[in-house]
Symmetry: C2
Subunit: 221 residues, 2 copies
Amino acid sequence: MNRIITLQQSVMAEDEKFASSIRERNARMGLLMVNIIGSPGSGKTTLLERTALNAGLAMAVIEGDLATDRDAERMARLDVPVVQINTRGGCHLEANVVERAMDSLPLDTLDVLFVENVGNLVCPAEFDLGEDFKVAVLSAPEGADKPLKYPFLFASAKAVLLTKTDLLPHLSFDTGMFDADVERLNPGVPVFRTDSISGAGIAEWVDFIRFKAREKRANVR
Amino acid sequence: MNRIITLQQSVMAEDEKFASSIRERNARMGLLMVNIIGSPGSGKTTLLERTALNAGLAMAVIEGDLATDRDAERMARLDVPVVQINTRGGCHLEANVVERAMDSLPLDTLDVLFVENVGNLVCPAEFDLGEDFKVAVLSAPEGADKPLKYPFLFASAKAVLLTKTDLLPHLSFDTGMFDADVERLNPGVPVFRTDSISGAGIAEWVDFIRFKAREKRANVR
């Protein structure tokens, strides 16, 4: 288990500048960076655990939480390089602290850097961290009406994950409405249905990330 | 079914002033105002539906959402006076628009005014709407680790609701840890475990609200 580094997020700085700087660095290195956004308990950390266990991706994680380093501990247990950012009440990660976190990670050995944003469907959607794209994570128990109620994230994400699908038999979740609403907000966006108990859907998600990482690397040469 | 009024939340005004004004008005009227806070899909609207169906409380609701008036429609179907506020991306309700919403409600006929804040465990916890108290709503599928990860709300709420307890048999939710963490953050806070399928826990919650409403009214005389 590797050492966990915890950073405190401070004042909002000139964040666009930091986001641009991150984007340029990643473009030079051919490093894919993915910003994972979803509510508290939507299954973001579990998804990243499952992703790490699926061989063939060199990954690191930046964890954003108001408090605690529990999520970083979970990643470190899998020997995933990780930095924990505590926002101390801040509702989203900011690019300046993300850039500092990146300095502690072995970026040149990675295929993909995941940022697990603060659990929140609203604010993180509005802030650029210099990532390649955002991913929207919704767990089935949250309900099928959420894409239309939180349209900003679902319209801008480059992938949508519906997690905890093992619970669907116990829920009144209208999958037809969910699919139609997501497609209306974001035509053609890939939707992955995952169940971290059985592992269903994880291979497809990892394939998608692997494809995107390869695409990013190819654009450097 | 009554008419739904939808307000758009505009720029942040001098919000403390509005919160004080609301608090003073409610104190004069003896009207209890409760600010309901939880993640998207934690069951806030369903809780309010169940509360409305439980006889003996004259209630109204102010609904906060980024977009849509679906939640207001659900309350209106039960003949609950309701105003929908659309924050258009804003991550929490602000007191100035809540005060305008109150002007459209029959306040002098009410025992309790519920404000269902924007689905978000973070930002709404930090904004005073002039309410008597905040209530934290967490659904069981979100996980037992959430109080420590989102401590600001759980430490300041005057009641905690654990919803969707019907799903507990299908989850690995550590109720002992949850209870201990809540008690540590907020000693003595009442915790209601509700299941809106069977209705378990709703009567206790409504009794609590009825008691608080009576207490508020008694303080006017």
